[in-house]
């Protein structure tokens, strides 16, 4: 079990490095593009903003989970 744990920890360390690069790109591309539009929605169309906010956070949840899962799989395959 201890061996499994250390294997998992090493995979995760690699995953975090790759993930950090992806997240940095994400900040510059997505948040800067969406910021102005979301602010306009917040000020002018609160109902739409509420649902867009929920969709965005849920969508990001699914997307990031897929990315981290794919990364883990990719790292594991690379080791094998």
């Amino acid at each position: 079990m201890a061996g499994n744990f250390w294997h998992w920890l090493k995979s995760f360390a690699i995953e975090i490095v790759v993930y950090a690069l992806l997240v940095t790109a994400y900040f510059f591309l997505v948040l800067h593009l969406l910021g102005g539009w979301l602010e306009e929605l917040f000020l002018g169309q609160r109902h739409l903003y509420a649902w867009v906010a929920l969709l965005l956070i849920a969508g990001q949840g699914v997307l990031l989970e897929e990315i981290t899962r794919w990364l883990l799989g990719w790292i594991t395959r690379g080791k094998d």
Partner: protein, 310 residues
Amino acid sequence: MFFPISGVHVDPIYLMGVGFIVGVLGGFFGVGGSFLAGPALFLVGVPMNFVIGTDLAHIVGKSIVAARKHRVLGNIDLKLGLLMVVGTVGGVEAGAQLIQKLKQTSHLDWVVGPAFVVILIAISLFMTWESVKTLLLQRRARGAGQRPPGQHPGGRDHSAVAFIAEAVHRISLPPYISLPISGIPKISVWAILAVSFIGGVFSGFLGGGAGYIRMPCLIYLLGIPTHIAVGTDLFEIIISAGYGTVTHALKGNVDILIALVMHTGAAIGAQIGATLTQFFAGPRIRMAFIPLPLIGAAIMLYKLFSGPGP
């Protein structure tokens, strides 16, 4: 980084760091982690109304990540989670109404508040006693080559106080439901609704998801194995926090950009927390959970002494 919706400058690395820590806690314990994320946002100048709504939004994303991981691990009882949503939403509304009543009768908060503190400290003490006793019983049984006592009906967990959940399972109050994933052949629907309602009342009264009370209730009162309680609570939080996100966003209390940045840290933390549950047995997870009700008690004391919030 400037966040135009709430009008504050916050370092995104700080937000990601907070998200990461809360994500680990959420993935491992099945809690929202508002007791940590709320003060952390407030500390860097995020207005209090945005703190509450934004934290709820980030909890939705984090819980999705952790719940998907727990689903892969077989730790989610969907039937139980959906039933709990009903009780939780009712409880949150009741808790919010209680707050309104307390505002009118200012002395009452000094009756209810200390009662909550006593309950939360009692939960912590009880969990300490129970998890230590269970681990000792397990060790003794293993040494003697016997089956550990207090084994959960599903065979996935052990508890020295399994008799409490067994008594709840015997409550004769129809309609009944079976929870095969949790290893429970028959339980009154009212027991599940009552437990989730209690969690909801704490959530509505104190803010956040109140996982520090719902988790012990799931484990000790309903007899849900610890790992499934963690996963199912996260699934339930997705729906109840999603509901809270929309209602708070309508009132202008959600800065979704802050929530999205926090969530990038929380996503990785939640994966780590959820994966870590594989390496710990139920009693050890419960033992690590012990400080959380104490933090809930500290929040209550702080609110009592600092007066009502904005």
